[in-house]
Symmetry: C2
Subunit: 333 residues, 2 copies
């Protein structure tokens, strides 16, 4: 009798295949997150380390390097770097969004204060910068510096278009390219660069990361409306309450009639929200296929990601990276 | 008849002597502070540019480079870099301190919101990082990455020792080395490094910047108690109200008797402050020579700074830099 095991999630497969390197990355992260001078720093960072997270970005760097036959020892530094940048942006995001929960746990700004989150975020960002300087590779420095600037631009743009009902899908894409896809793209690209891969391979990795990041964020924004708290580690409807112009909202707005638009004006533009408004928002989104259309967009980007790395030599890692976008999109099914 | 003109301030002398380069620095700053993607960014940064400030840190970089016979074009990039890092930390500081005034104008967090200040600060920090990567000089990257981490550590340490009456002068020194002296030191040091100066010259420049920064911050903390609003561009007694453990307070605490200590416990530890408490605090500081002793400490660091650069070849710039620490200390007379 043959037993069919449920297939392991692609990121878990990545984690076990790259475990040898991830142990080194985690140890480097732990070491560099510490600070002798200011004991508050390890308190906050340990809270974040314990919260875990999937470490998807450093896994992408390690996978990209491995697929390109890397021989440099600095892929470990780069993997830690992208996780530091990611963690720094999470700390600042939670201040900006006044979030109370992250990965199913209270956020640092709730446990300590906004001040600590701002300054410890700055510290982690500086630490990431030190790590990448140690690689001595100016090209990866350039890539990561550009990614950092794009992330910050995306975050500011998101802030300024919040509550603006005329936000277009193009603007939304610019926001998520910044806040999410830039780091996914850079994480993959630097893995190729540090391994001295051919330019077309480096480009393919960058495109893969970019498309995966877009797909990841669109799915995240969709789950905010139709996921479950357990999937998200945060509460359903956060984006609605924070009046964020995410894709499901942009799509439903486009199809809403005059009366329905009044609902969106009251709840999103003016922020006057009642208890059952989220339910009604979901009803409108279902009525106008906004959730389904958003899901289709996520699938489009998943296909794009998969196609990007098809030029890489066949390997176990390439297979897993090819499965990953579909898995990301299907988190909601 | 000979007319004696009042002596020009050293930083004004620096500014006119280095005007040719500063024009380039200002133009680079203006160009790189912009953002096509997020219009909020130039709004906030232009507010900061207009507010001016002395641009002391970039002037130090230019002066150091010039004194070392610099031939690289990248001293301009480095001068802009240190100003960007400085501006980014100001934006975050004002959020952390909940400040309402900076350089005599409303702060960005007051004009826009904390969110914008956090994210635009991140943007400027990323931009500074891009600028320094463009120099292609790994050693200056290393120096500035370390300075950034030290700044963040100093800021976190300051946050965690606020209101703690047992804070020592050593801890205070660690805080200001981070929040102020690290960038002064790095600003001077990279000027030497980019010019391929001898190691002992580079070390001398780093020591000068460090001591000048310590002297600058001690004086600033003193002025917070006995300056005038016009000198500061902020309100007298801010540190008292924010219950910051600055040097005058640490010094007066050491000499306070049991009854006086109760006053400090109430106002600083518990934060229960009445209208005339600042006056009484100043009376105690005068009684125990805390302001005078703080001034003496500032003078000690001024001497240290001056001595550090005495090994540099004689020049007009060296003369000005030698006058600068005394001028900083005597802002209060």
């Amino acid at each position: 009798m043959r037993i069919t095991l449920p297939q392991e999630k692609p990121q878990d497969q990545l984690a076990s295949l790259l475990n040898h390197d991830m142990v080194k990355v985690n140890s480097l992260i732990k070491k560099r997150m510490a600070s002798d001078a200011a004991p508050r720093i390890p308190e906050v960072t340990e809270h974040l380390i314990d919260a875990g997270g999937k470490r998807l970005r450093p896994l992408l760097t390690l996978a990209a390097a491995e697929m390109c036959g890397n021989t440099s020892p600095y892929h470990i530094h780069l993997a830690a770097t992208v996780e530091f940048i990611h963690t720094a942006t999470l700390l600042h995001d939670d201040v900006v969004d006044e979030s109370k929960q992250r990965r199913g746990r209270p956020t640092a700004n709730l446990l300590w204060d906004n001040q600590s989150s701002v300054l410890v975020g700055d510290y982690l960002f500086s630490r990431s910068f030190q790590l990448m300087v140690e690689t001595g590779n100016l090209r990866v420095l350039d890539i990561l510096a550009n990614a950092s600037a794009t992330i910050a631009e995306g975050e500011v743009l998101q802030l300024t278009v919040a509550q603006n009902l005329s936000t277009t899908e193009d603007t939304y894409l610019k926001v998520i390219r910044g806040k999410t896809a830039a780091l996914f793209g850079a994480a993959c690209k630097v893995g190729g660069v540090i391994s001295n891969a051919e330019e077309k391979i480096i480009d393919a990795l960058a495109s893969y990361g970019d498309a995966l990041g877009v797909c990841f964020q669109i799915t995240d924004d969709l789950l905010d409306y139709n996921g479950s708290s357990a999937d998200l580690g945060k509460s359903i409807g956060d984006d609605f309450r924070e009046r964020k112009m995410s894709l499901p909202l942009i799509k439903v707005l486009k199809k809403s009639d005059v009366t329905e638009k009044e609902f969106w004006k009251r709840t999103i533009e003016k922020g006057d929200q009642q208890d059952d408004d989220l339910d009604f928002a979901l009803k409108l989104m279902t009525k106008h296929n906004a959730l389904k259309d958003t899901h289709n967009d996520a699938k489009f980007w998943a296909e794009k990601a998969k196609k990007s790395i098809s030029i890489l030599p066949k390997s176990k890692l390439r297979n897993i990276l090819t499965e990953l976008p579909d898995f990301v999109v299907n988190r909601l099914s």
